[in-house]
C-alpha cells in the first residue's frame, strides 16, 4: 500500500506533476492495481529471463542519417543548429 505522499514522491521521480485535487483518486486506483500485483508473490522461485538469447552486435560504422535541419525541424527552439532546452543549473 502507498499513501498520497508516496505517490507524490513517485510522481516527482517520474517528472509528472499531479494536482492536489487528483491525488486522492490517483492513490486509491494505484493501490487497487498494486494489490492485484500481489499475485506475483505466488510465483515459484525460478529463472529470470530467457537463457538462450544472445546479443546482436555490429561494427560502429558511419552510415547516412538525418541532416541537422531534419533532426532539429521538430524542436521547440534552435540556436546555431543546436536545440534549446530549459536551464539545468
Amino acid at each position: 500500500m502507498v499513501n498520497e505522499s508516496d505517490v507524490e514522491g513517485i510522481a516527482k521521480l517520474a517528472d509528472i506533476s499531479i494536482s492536489k485535487e487528483e491525488l486522492g483518486a490517483f492513490t486509491s486506483r494505484f493501490n487497487d492495481i498494486l494489490e492485484y500485483f500481489d499475485i506475483l508473490d505466488q510465483v515459484p522461485p525460478g529463472e529470470e529471463g530467457v537463457p538462450d538469447l544472445g546479443n546482436v552486435l555490429r561494427e560502429d560504422v558511419v552510415t547516412p542519417s538525418l541532416s541537422q535541419e531534419e533532426a532539429t525541424a521538430n524542436a521547440g527552439g534552435t540556436e546555431d543548429g543546436f536545440i534549446r532546452a530549459p536551464r539545468v543549473m
Binding site: A14, I33, L34, A73, N74, A75, G77, V88
Partner: protein, 434 residues
C-alpha cells in the same frame, strides 16, 4: 510518375487522426499497387503527422519513415491516413485518445477495442481493407475481435519495429489487420523480414499462400481460456468454432497453462516498467508542443508532462517508476520476469504436443462506451491476449460469429515462427464458414 488515390470516405467512427485527401503511390507493379492502407498513429510516416494519440506529440511531423512504411511504399500502397488509438497504445478500448474515442462500426454505442481501435474500425466500416496496428498485449487482436475483422500479432522479431514509437520494447510487435485472412496474409508478406536497424528481427521472410487443409492438425484447448471471467456465451461460440475445425479433420486435446494465474500481473509490471523508461523522452524539447526554456529543467518538465499526458499514461509511468524503484524491484519486476519465463515455457511445452492453441480472443463482446472506467477492470479484459506477447509467439484473431449481434473472435496461437500456420488455421475456418 506517381499515382494518386482519392480518399474521400466519411469518417463516421473517428477512426482516423489524420487523413490524406490524395494519397500518392508508386505505380510500380508491387503487390499493393494503388491499394489504400491505413497506418496506426504510433508508426512513423515521413511528412504525415504522427501523434500516438497524445497531445504531447501534437504537431510532430516525422523526418523519416518506419521500416514497415518504407516497405508499404515500395509495394505500391497508398497510405491514406493515420488511425486513432489509445494514447501510446495504453488501453483496451481506444477511449484513451486525446483525439476522442473511436466507436464500433457494428454498434456505435460500443467501443471498438484497443489500442489499435482506429485501424479495426477503419476496416469494419469499409473505409479501407488493410491497416497496420501494433500489439503489446492484444492491441491488434482485441479490436479485430470486437469489430469483426482479422488481426495477426506476428512472432516477436518477425517484423521490424524501426520507427514504431516505443512503449514496451520486449512485448510489442507491428502487425496486419484486414477484412479477410487473405488480406492479412498479403500485408504480412509485405512487412515481414529482417531489418539491420532493429536488432531483434530475424532473417526470415514471409512468403506464403494460405492453405485450408487442417486434416490431422492437433489443436490444444487450454481450460484457462474457458474458465472464470470468460462470458459463457462467448466461450460457447468459440467451442462451436473449434468443433468446425474438428469437422474439417483437426483433432483437439485439452491442456492447461498454469502460469495464466499470474500472467496478467507479470504483463502489467513489465509493460509499465518499460513505459516509464521509454516515455521519459517526451520532454517538449525535441518534438511536440514546446517547453519554456526560462524555467528550471525539472519544474518545466513536470508541468509539461502533467498537462499533456493523459491520465492512463501518467498512471502507467508512475506504476513502472514504482515497480523499478529501490526496495520494490525484487517484489515486482524480478518476480514478473520469472513469471514471464514460466509463461514462455508453458507455451513451448503445450506446443510440443500440439500444432496450435485455440481459444477466445477476448473474454467478452465489446464493452459499451464508458463501461470500463476503472483501470483495473479494463486491465483484466486483456487476460487472454497478453500470454502470447509474454511468450513471443504468433497469434491471430478471426471472426467466429456473434453474441448479442456483436462479433466474437477465435484466437489461434502457434509456436515461435509458425505465423504461416496460424494464418492457415484461420483461413481454413474462414473458408468453411464463408
Amino acid at each position: 510518375m506517381e499515382g494518386g488515390y482519392i480518399f474521400d470516405e466519411k469518417d463516421r467512427h473517428n477512426a482516423f487522426i489524420s487523413t490524406l485527401d490524395l494519397a500518392l503511390f508508386e505505380p510500380n507493379g508491387g503487390p499493393l499497387e494503388g491499394i489504400p492502407v491505413a497506418v496506426k498513429d504510433n508508426i512513423t510516416t515521413v511528412g504525415i503527422p504522427t501523434t500516438c494519440g497524445s497531445r504531447i506529440l501534437e504537431g510532430y511531423v516525422p523526418p523519416y519513415d518506419a521500416h514497415v512504411v518504407a516497405l508499404l511504399r515500395k509495394a505500391g500502397a497508398a497510405i491514406v491516413g493515420k488511425t486513432n488509438m489509445d494514447e501510446f497504445g495504453m488501453g483496451t478500448t481506444t477511449e484513451n485518445s486525446a483525439f476522442g474515442p473511436v466507436t464500433n462500426p457494428v454498434d456505435p454505442a460500443r467501443v471498438p477495442g484497443g489500442s489499435s481501435g482506429g485501424s479495426a474500425a477503419a476496416i469494419a466500416s469499409g473505409m479501407v481493407d488493410l491497416a497496420l496496428g501494433s500489439d503489446t498485449g492484444g492491441s491488434i487482436r482485441c479490436p479485430a475481435a470486437f469489430c469483426g475483422v482479422v488481426g495477426l500479432k506476428p512472432t516477436f522479431g518477425r517484423v521490424s519495429r524501426y520507427g514504431l514509437i516505443a512503449y514496451s520494447n520486449s512485448l510489442e510487435q507491428i502487425g496486419p489487420l484486414g477484412k479477410t485472412v487473405t488480406d492479412v496474409n498479403t500485408l504480412m508478406s509485405v512487412i515481414a523480414g529482417p531489418d539491420a536497424r532493429d536488432s531483434t528481427t530475424y532473417d526470415r521472410l514471409y512468403d506464403h499462400t494460405p492453405n485450408s487443409d487442417v486434416k490431422g492438425l492437433r489443436i490444444a484447448v487450454p481450460k484457462e481460456y474457458f474458465g472464470e471471467g470468460v462470458d459463457p456465451a462467448v466461450a460457447a461460440k468459440v467451442q462451436d468454432a473449434i468443433a468446425t475445425l474438428e469437422g474439417l479433420g483437426a483433432e483437439t486435446v485439452e491442456c492447461s497453462i498454469p502460469s495464466m494465474t499470474y500472467a496478467l500481473a507479470a504483463y502489467y509490471v513489465t509493460c509499465t516498467s518499460e513505459a516509464s523508461s521509454n516515455l521519459a523522452r517526451f520532454d517538449g524539447v525535441r518534438y511536440g508542443p514546446k517547453v519554456e526554456t526560462v524555467r528550471s529543467w525539472h519544474d518545466e518538465f513536470r508541468d509539461h508532462r502533467g498537462a499533456l499526458f493523459g491520465k492512463e499514461v501518467q498512471r502507467r509511468i508512475l506504476l513502472g517508476t514504482f515497480a523499478l524503484s529501490a526496495g520494490y524491484y525484487g517484489k515486482y519486476y524480478a518476480k514478473a520476469q520469472v513469471a514471464r519465463e514460466n509463461v514462455r515455457r508453458d507455451f513451448i511445452r503445450v506446443l510440443k504436443d500440439a500444432d496450435v492453441i485455440a481459444g477466445p480472443t477476448m473474454p467478452s463482446i465489446a464493452f459499451c462506451l464508458g463501461e470500463k472506467s476503472d483501470p483495473l477492470s479494463m486491465y483484466l479484459a486483456d487476460i487472454l491476449t497478453v500470454p502470447a506477447n509474454l511468450a513471443g509467439v504468433p497469434a491471430i484473431s478471426v471472426p467466429c460469429g456473434t453474441v448479442d449481434r456483436m462479433p466474437v473472435g477465435l484466437q489461434i496461437i502457434g509456436p515461435h515462427f509458425a505465423d504461416e500456420r496460424v494464418v492457415d488455421v484461420a483461413f481454413a475456418f474462414e473458408q468453411e464458414v464463408a
